[in-house]
Structure formats: structure tokens, C-alpha cells
């Protein structure tokens, strides 16, 4: 199947089975996360000089969208510090499971909410405030703190990583695009799982906790909901869990049948286009409307934003997919065909991110030396002059990403159409149209 099992390498196997390497990264990330919150609250309110803005929305975002998601899928989730404090309280331990039972409720998440609709909404909520969020340190601090405390609160009421699985606005899209990544966690032999007693990978054992992402590894067919936390690597008594290197986008060969995932694709695709227009476009009134939260212009912006993502784009796509089918059939075809939008959406975000990351990257140097804007010069780079990087290759790189995304999506659409006995041409036409719009917005 063209897979290379990375966990065959002893160093990797050892590194994943031990808690300490991952925990060390967790702790460093938590310190950085807390510092980002503090910097947003007490540091300079000037966004491009504040650690919270520069390191969250430029440095971290660049690493996430240009490297981690395309290459490692949910690799970020494996080291994200947000669940750490809540999980400590929930489990009563930071290392192996304690002997005594947890004193918290550990309720099951309501069945009606076991989908990613809430993640769609949480991402949308942030997106609607994005102009303010991306430029205002204290708003970023409040959002970061809100996510941390939400995760803690939910950990005390519900079992496992409820926030990560069902609410995290970032985790939602990472999960969607992780299907395209060349990394996966899968079982090696299904028969071993069938006969395994107690299913410690899901229920936990003395060696580790049951899957924090509420996933039964034997049932994994795609990356979407596996957070790469590696608990199952530690708990599996049969060494039956593998981390594999694989060709890109293997999960997309199995089209989604769920509307929440389909709409996630539209949320991400539409947001990338609207962000490109608002943040990179030349329209001052649009920028003002997006920035001045609470004004009438902003409310109009919100309505247009929601309408484009939840009505206009899905409606056009539905017409492309199957205009004359009954509703049930349309829903299935719509969800399946939307899988084709995943590579395109990922490449839209890559292209969009290249613009502002390369434009603002030098702020990382100034901010790392003076993260709070207090006049420090810790590494001698506080007075680095701002200048955009790689301007000559930006437009070609963006074009390459967008055209590459279009080709990738077209091939995915052809695969999906073969499996679902439908024509790929309307879907490809939809992808082409959105790509042309994105090219116009970016170039």
C-alpha cells in the first residue's frame, strides 16, 4: 500500500512510547501559550510589536499552515498545550494513570453534538472578528485564554478531550486537511484488535489513557479525528499501532458522507477567499467594515460572510453536483463531492498565508527580542527594519499553490466521481471558478 511504518524505527518507537519527550514539548508550549496571553494583556497594544500577535498569527500560523498541516496532519494537535491543564485535572495525573478513580463527572458528550458543526461555528465566530483578532493583542489574549479555560472547564465535566474533538476552531480545520497529509496513525493488523481483550487503546490501561479523542483506532479510516496523541501507542499491549508515512491525500479516496464535514470544506474555502479580499485586497471600506466590530457596516459584513459560506457557495456547488436528484441523494452526492474541495481549500490557505507571512516575517525578529514592547533587545534584533521577504517569488509561489490545488482537486473529483457514478466536470468547473477568483484576489 506504499506505506512506510515509521514506528519500526526503534528511536521513533521509543520516543512515542515514552511520555517524557511529548510532555517536555507540551510544557514548553504551555509556557509559550501563557506568555502569549500575558503579552497580549500587558504588552504593547501595537500588534506588530507584540509577541501575542506576531508569534500566534504570523510565526505559529506560518508553521501550522505551511508546514505542519500539509506534512504532519494533526501534528500540531500532538503538542498543542491547550488540553494539558484540563487533562491533568481530569485524570488526576500528568504521567501514567493513577490508581484512584477520577473525581470529576466524566460525562459523555451529548450525542446530538458529536459532529463538527460546533467547530464550524467556532471557526466562523473567530473569522467574523478576525480583523480585530489578528491585529489587537488583548483580543488575541482573551481568545487564547478563553480557549484554555474552555478546555479546562469541559475536561471537568465531560470525558476525554471534548474541547479538542468538538469545539476547537483550529482543530476542526486541521482535522479536515489532515486527510491530505502523508502521515497517519493506523492499526497494523485488524484481527489482533478484534481479539484484543478490554480494548485498552479505547478504554485505557495502567500504561496509558483511553483515546482522548474518543476514537477506536481499529476503526480509523481517515485522519480527521485522530489527534496523534500517541496514547494508543502506549496502551496497545500487542504493539499493533503504527505511525506510517504514506502518499499524500490517501484519505480522500474515501469520500465523506457527512454534511458537517462537507460544510467545513465550504467554511474553510470561503473564509480563505474572504480573508484574501479583506486583509490583502485594496478595498478600504471593506477593511473598515470588518474591523469596526459592532457597527452597522460590520453587521452587513457578517451577514454577507455567512451568506457566502453557508448559502451561496453550497447552493452553487449543489447545483453543480446534482440539480435534479431527490434530497437524500443530493445530500450524499453533495457531501461526497465536497471532498474534492479539501486539497483546493488547503492550497487556498497556503497561498493566502504566503502573502502575509512573507510580508510580516521580519516582525518575528523584532518581537523575539522585545516581546512586550518594553524596549528590550534580548537577541540584538529588536531594531530590525521591517521588510517583506521573497517578494519576487511570492506571486509565482501563490500561483503554483493555487494551480496545484486545482489540479489536485480535479483529480480528487475524478476519483470521487468514479466511486459515486457522477460527473466530475461540474465540480471541476466549480473549483476552476473559485481558483480564478482567488488568483484575482491574490495577484
Amino acid at each position: 500500500m506504499n506505506r512506510i511504518e515509521l514506528t519500526r524505527l526503534p528511536a521513533i518507537q521509543l520516543g512515542l512510547q515514552s511520555r517524557y519527550p511529548q510532555l517536555a514539548v507540551f510544557v514548553l508550549m504551555l509556557a509559550g501559550y501563557i506568555f502569549a496571553i500575558l503579552a497580549g494583556l500587558i504588552g504593547t497594544p501595537v500588534g506588530n510589536q507584540n509577541f501575542s500577535i506576531v508569534f500566534v498569527w504570523i510565526a505559529w500560523w506560518a508553521v501550522l499552515i505551511l508546514f505542519a498541516v500539509p506534512l504532519l496532519g494533526r501534528g500540531w494537535c500532538a503538542v498543542c498545550p491547550i488540553p494539558l491543564p484540563g487533562e491533568w485535572l481530569q485524570r488526576g495525573a500528568v504521567l501514567n494513570p493513577p490508581d484512584k478513580k477520577s473525581k470529576w463527572s466524566n460525562l459523555r458528550w451529548p450525542k446530538a453534538l458529536r459532529n463538527i458543526w460546533l467547530q464550524n461555528l467556532s471557526f466562523l465566530l473567530l473569522a467574523l472578528f478576525s480583523s480585530l483578532l489578528l491585529t489587537t493583542p488583548n483580543v488575541t489574549a482573551v481568545v487564547l485564554a478563553g480557549m484554555l479555560f474552555s478546555a479546562i472547564g469541559l475536561s471537568l465535566v465531560f470525558e476525554r478531550r471534548t474541547f479538542c474533538r468538538y469545539l476547537c476552531p483550529v482543530g476542526g480545520f486541521i482535522g479536515l486537511y489532515s486527510q491530505a497529509a502523508p502521515i497517519e496513525l493506523r492499526i497494523k493488523d485488524k484481527q489482533i484488535c478484534i481479539t484484543c481483550e478490554g480494548k485498552p487503546c479505547y478504554n485505557g490501561s495502567a500504561n496509558g489513557y483511553g483515546c482522548p479523542w474518543d476514537v477506536y483506532p481499529a476503526g480509523l479510516t481517515k485522519n480527521t479525528y485522530c489527534g496523534l496523541c500517541m496514547e494508543c501507542v502506549r496502551t496497545c499491549p500487542h504493539d499493533n499501532i503504527a505511525v506510517n508515512l504514506r502518499p499524500f491525500a490517501m484519505d480522500l479516496a474515501r469520500p465523506s458522507a457527512k454534511l458537517d464535514e462537507a460544510f467545513k470544506a465550504f467554511v474553510m474555502l470561503g473564509s480563505a477567499m474572504i480573508y484574501a479580499a479583506v486583509l490583502l485586497g485594496p478595498w478600504g471600506r471593506l477593511k473598515d467594515a470588518a474591523y469596526h466590530v459592532g457597527t452597522r457596516a460590520w453587521l452587513v459584513y457578517v451577514l454577507v460572510f455567512i451568506a457566502i459560506i453557508f448559502i451561496v457557495m453550497p447552493a452553487v456547488f449543489a447545483l453543480c453536483v446534482s440539480p435534479f436528484e431527490n434530497l437524500s441523494s443530493l445530500k450524499k452526492r453533495f457531501a461526497a463531492a465536497s471532498t474534492s474541495l479539501i486539497p483546493l481549500g488547503l492550497m487556498f490557505w497556503v497561498a493566502f498565508s504566503l502573502s502575509f507571512v512573507l510580508t510580516n516575517a521580519t516582525y518575528v525578529l523584532t518581537s523575539i527580542s522585545d516581546p512586550l514592547g518594553l524596549g528590550w533587545n534580548l537577541f540584538g534584533t529588536a531594531n530590525t527594519t521591517w521588510q517583506p521577504l521573497l517578494t519576487s517569488v511570492l506571486a509565482p509561489a501563490q500561483t503554483l499553490a493555487l494551480v496545484g490545488g486545482l489540479i489536485w482537486s480535479a483529480r480528487t473529483a475524478q476519483d470521487v466521481s468514479r466511486r459515486r457514478s457522477m460527473s466530475s466536470i461540474p465540480v471541476i468547473a466549480f473549483c476552476l471558478a473559485t481558483t480564478l477568483i482567488m488568483l484575482w484576489l491574490l495577484l
Binding site: I34, Q49, V94, L95, L372, L374
Partner: protein
């Protein structure tokens, strides 16, 4: 609890606490003066304290746009204060008193409201020094009374043309500071017009002589200094050409009372358009003493700020010299 669990928990707590404590501690020990546009609070804090002869180190930062920092009635060079950056400045005062610091960059329509004070205490180095009363106070001028000139020249009065006429008419009585500062150009014109020896000269020629008198009462150094002060502090509203068309003029008018009352609560201020220095009726009817009063005191009911705490007497006279250049063609 296992030892490894205890150690790990301790490390997490220590690292997290360090991430909180260190920046908060450093931040609390770094006193900054924050500059924000006046609508968002201006200088914060807006009061600093110092002692005579002891250096006062200030760390300035801007929370929004580029501002400037200067201290009125001192020779301290103004410095720029950039967003998110720290500007350090050290001040030493040789006299006690209350000094005004202010923004020197046109940061917004209420730019001129960006002011704070430095209270300097300590021994009076020169107890015999007394504050000179401004001329407009000595003369008892009503700064708010209309002062339009009933007569104006047909074309802009020229000092060069006036110089030729003055060759046959002694003007020394008009060029001493006592006369020049206390009389408006129109008053000088009236006196000259009434003189029999000038009865054959046209009104325009008399205005040219007035232009020459005004030039003779000034120096090139004054007009250079006045021009610099004007462009730094006045042109934002009054315009580079003096025609009341500065970049903030329209915005001030549009903002109206909302802008004027921002820092004055219930005071019923009415923002007017800035004075037009190219208007001959207004300018030729105003004496240097009257202009001094308007500059020192401010508009009182208009958007014109008080410059008394900021400009020295000498700077005010320099500025006035430059203001008349909008009416007269000078040539040295």
C-alpha cells in the same frame, strides 16, 4: 504519589508560574509614558515629577501612531515616539515650575490636546527673576473684539516697493519694537495716510511702506525660526499657505462640538474653521500684541489651543513675524 509524578508536576507548575511571574515582574518595573491620540487618552500618565538639577529619565512609547515629544519653554530637542517602540529621553531642569510636554506630530484632529506636565521642584536658582507680563495684557487688549481692517491694499503690499518710497520719508519712529508690536498694520497705514507729506501717494503705496516697516521690524533669523514653528505647530490646521486649509481643518469643522467638548466636558465650545492668515482684513487689523495674546491664550471657544505654556516669548514674536509674511512680500 510517585516521585516521578511529583517531580513532573512540580516542573510544570514552575515553568507555568515562571511564564507568568517573569514578564509581570519586569513589566511592573518598567515605567512607561504611553502616547495615544487624544481621543484615546493622550499621554498616560500625563504628569511627571522631577527635581531641579537632577536628571529625569523618561521612557516613552506610542500605543497607536507616531507621536512626538517636546517640552515647552525649554531648548529640549523634540523626539519621535514610534508605535510599539521605546524612546528614551533624559531631561534636566534648572528652574522649578510646571512645564508642559506635548506632542509634536500631527497625530489626529485633537493632536494639540496631547499635553502633560512635568512638575519640577527644588530651590529657586534665581529668586530675583520675575515673570514679564505679556504685552497684550499690558496694553489691555480685548482679544475677542473684532479687529478687521477697514482698508486693504489692492494688491499684496511689497516691502521692496515700500523701501523706495521710504527713501524720502523717515520711518525710524515706526520700526522700534514699541511701535511695531503695539500697532496693527492698518493703524500704521492710518498714521502714514494722515501725514501731509505723503498726501500725493496712493493708498497702495502707503501699504507698501507699511510692508517695508514691518520687514524692517523683523530679521531673517526671526522669519526662519517663525516659519519652522509655524510648520511644526500651526500648519496642521491653518494650512501651509496660511489659508485655513490645513489637513485637519475640514475634519475639525466636521467634528464640531463633539470634538471640542472631548476634554472640556460641559463647556460650550464651538469649533470654527481655523483663522485664515491670507485674509487681509483680519491680519492687517491685528497688531503683533493682539496676535501674541491669541497665541498665548488660545481661542477660548474655538479649537485654537493655548500656546502660552509651550512657546517662549521670543518664539511667539518669531512666529508673528512669519504670520505677517502671508500679507506682505518681504525681500531682504
Amino acid at each position: 504519589m510517585k516521585r516521578s509524578e511529583l517531580i513532573t508536576r512540580s516542573i510544570i507548575v514552575i515553568v507555568a508560574a515562571t511564564a507568568v511571574a517573569v514578564p509581570v515582574w519586569v513589566w511592573s518595573r518598567t515605567p512607561l509614558i504611553h502616547a495615544r491620540i487624544a481621543e484615546n487618552g493622550g499621554w498616560s500618565p500625563d504628569v511627571a515629577r522631577a527635581r531641579v538639577g537632577e536628571p529625569l529619565h523618561l521612557h516613552l512609547t506610542s500605543d497607536d501612531v507616531t507621536h512626538g515629544f517636546a517640552v515647552g519653554q525649554t531648548d529640549v530637542q523634540s523626539v519621535d515616539v514610534f508605535p510599539g517602540k521605546i524612546t528614551d529621553i533624559t531631561l534636566v531642569f534648572d528652574k522649578p515650575g510646571t512645564y508642559t510636554f506635548y506632542c509634536t506630530r500631527w497625530c489626529g484632529i485633537n493632536h494639540w490636546r496631547m499635553r502633560g506636565t512635568i512638575e519640577v521642584s527644588g530651590a529657586v536658582s534665581d529668586p530675583l527673576t520675575s515673570v514679564e507680563r505679556p504685552l497684550y495684557v499690558t496694553l489691555g487688549l480685548n482679544l475677542d473684539a473684532p479687529h478687521d481692517s477697514p482698508s486693504i491694499p489692492g494688491v499684496r503690499a511689497s516691502a521692496q516697493r515700500g523701501r523706495q518710497l521710504a527713501a524720502d520719508f523717515p520711518i525710524s519712529q515706526f520700526t522700534n519694537p514699541g511701535f511695531y508690536r503695539a500697532h496693527s498694520p492698518y493703524q500704521a497705514w492710518q498714521i502714514l495716510r494722515a501725514n501731509d507729506s505723503l498726501s500725493k501717494n496712493s493708498d497702495q503705496q502707503i501699504w507698501d511702506m507699511v510692508a517695508f516697516i514691518w520687514q524692517s521690524s523683523s530679521t531673517t533669523a526671526q522669519i526662519t525660526a517663525g516659519r519652522q514653528l509655524y510648520f511644526q505647530n500651526c500648519a496642521a490646521c491653518h494650512g501651509e499657505t496660511g489659508a485655513a486649509n490645513g489637513v485637519f481643518a475640514d475634519e475639525l469643522a466636521a467634528a464640531g462640538k463633539a470634538s471640542a467638548q472631548m476634554t472640556n466636558g460641559a463647556q460650550n465650545m464651538a469649533v470654527q474653521r481655523p483663522a485664515d492668515f491670507t485674509d487681509p482684513q483680519r491680519m492687517l487689523g491685528a497688531s503683533p500684541a493682539l496676535l501674541q495674546g491669541k497665541i498665548l491664550r488660545g481661542g477660548m471657544g474655538t479649537g485654537m489651543p493655548s500656546w502660552g505654556p509651550i512657546f517662549s516669548q521670543e518664539q511667539v514674536w518669531d512666529l508673528i513675524v512669519y504670520l505677517y509674511s502671508f500679507q506682505f512680500e518681504y525681500q531682504w
